[in-house]
Amino acid sequence: MPVISFEHVSKVYPLPAGDVVALDGVDIAIEQGEFVLVMGPSGSGKSTLLNIMGSLDVPTSGEVTIAGNRIGGMDDDDLTLLRRDHIGFVFQQFNLIPLLSVVENVEYPLILKGRQNGARERAQEVLEAVGIAASHFTHTPGELSGGQQQRVAIARALVNDPDFLLCDEPTGNLDSKTGTAIMDLLDRMNREEGKTVVMVTHDPRMTGYADRTIRLVDGRVAE
């Protein structure tokens, strides 16, 4: 069974100037362990697609199944718990919590699950796995470089052992060398840990990392 499945999914934003169709009858199935790129021009619906995959948003019509759960009819709490237990997000702007130290940021999703025991050890283990030195654990995110922050963000996304990672332009704010290092890290997580990765990018050079690429044009999948 695919870990993410979209059947005739549409998303319409009703605006005073007329409806905006962000997604228009999208059918997608992503299998466990795949590395999938989502590409397309600006405004083609990539972020909308990723938000629905991440149960941050719900479709206007169509059927979405995430990690075996049909999201139709779920309330806000159900969707939140689905995110917490099955999905890891990585953002373009890293989005670490400035109030928390590096290790606390990574620990946070475990605390949300009520796992106080061993949370710190697990967070440190994952941080080491993404290449953050132990001396940086107690720093605040602002004291780290962009590449380091994105590694911490990936550690935070991975710490709960999610079914898949959703990355919206994770290298968009990084120089190309650091970007490549991040891509290598995601690639390693995909091949060594078997993590499913869905990633939005504008960079055609990234296609080399992916098993396949979904191209969106005007909210439709272009073959």
């Binding site: 718990l81 995110r83 997000f89 928390l100 946070y108 935070r156």
Partner: protein, 381 residues
Amino acid sequence: MTFFDLARRNVSRHWLRSVLAVIGIVIGVIAIATLGIMGNSISLMFGDMVTDVGDTLVVSPATGVGGGKLTERQVDDITRAVGSNQVIPFASTADKISVGEKEGGAMLYAIPAGDIPSLLEVESGAYPRDTGAGCLIGSELAANSRENGLKLGARVRIGDETLRVTGVLEERGMGFDINPDYAIVVPYSWYSNHYDEDEYDQVIVKVRDVNDLDAVKESIEQRMNRREDVVTIMDTRGILESVFAATDSITVFLMGIGAVSLIVAGVSILNVMLMSVTERIKEIGVLRSIGTRRSEVMRMFIYEALFLGLAGALIGGALSFCAGYVVTAVFVGNPDYLFDPTSLLYIVFGMAFGVITSVASGFYPAWKAAQLNPIQALRHE
């Protein structure tokens, strides 16, 4: 690391505005607690001043009738009206007295010798006999005039007669019937002889069963005031009740003023919390995207308000104690009233109100934070 931790860190990150918000709560708590203590001390003070509560009627001549005195006959009528309850008629006057060489003025109460023991307690010495020339002196008069020779066993000259002080009275406090603390009490028979007087100023009726008070009052009314108002009857319990009602409403009024300042403090908490939410919209979006529930976001902000409230209440409570001491010592003149449990309760009350106000003020911003759409919050710059 918990939601409480997160809240605490956010409070200390913006410590200056947190301190300002806390100061508002501190002032509110102090205002409620000290004004409450002040009102409460006033009623405690009344309670201490007034003795003989509730079982006494005081019958006085209605003004303008019979020269303001009660005759022997009228007293007899009253005695018949009240059945088996005790009737104590008395007269009072002021006169010059001298002890040895010293002269002065004093208030005299003339009470039938047999009735004195049921009205007044002797602290030292004995009650005067009906026939002898003895008198009692009030506690304050005794305390103030000792060096002038006015003490137990002293001889007091009034006009051309001499009275011996047979006893000193216990302190009685302010009453609605007589105030003997600064006065001399003489047997009515002596007074009647000395001043050639056979009328009374007032009659005290001691009602044995407080529940009969209204019935006894009614019975006197029936007998004495059938055609015209000959006497007025004062019911000490009724007066006391209205005094206490008045002091209670003073307390409520004062605390109302305190509550207003707490409302102002609440608005400042609301303001600080709204600022905190607005600044952290993006952060809320992130928290939501990684699986924080609405209720958990809400809890985080409520904790923040709780934190400010607790800090304000603790500081305010401690300062209220000091302010309460000043208020009771300076305005009421007796700091002991602060340590009365009913006064201390107002500090607890003020603190509880401080915490409740903070949390209540934090509720709306917290709710607003929880209702944010995660995608829009994430996009927020």
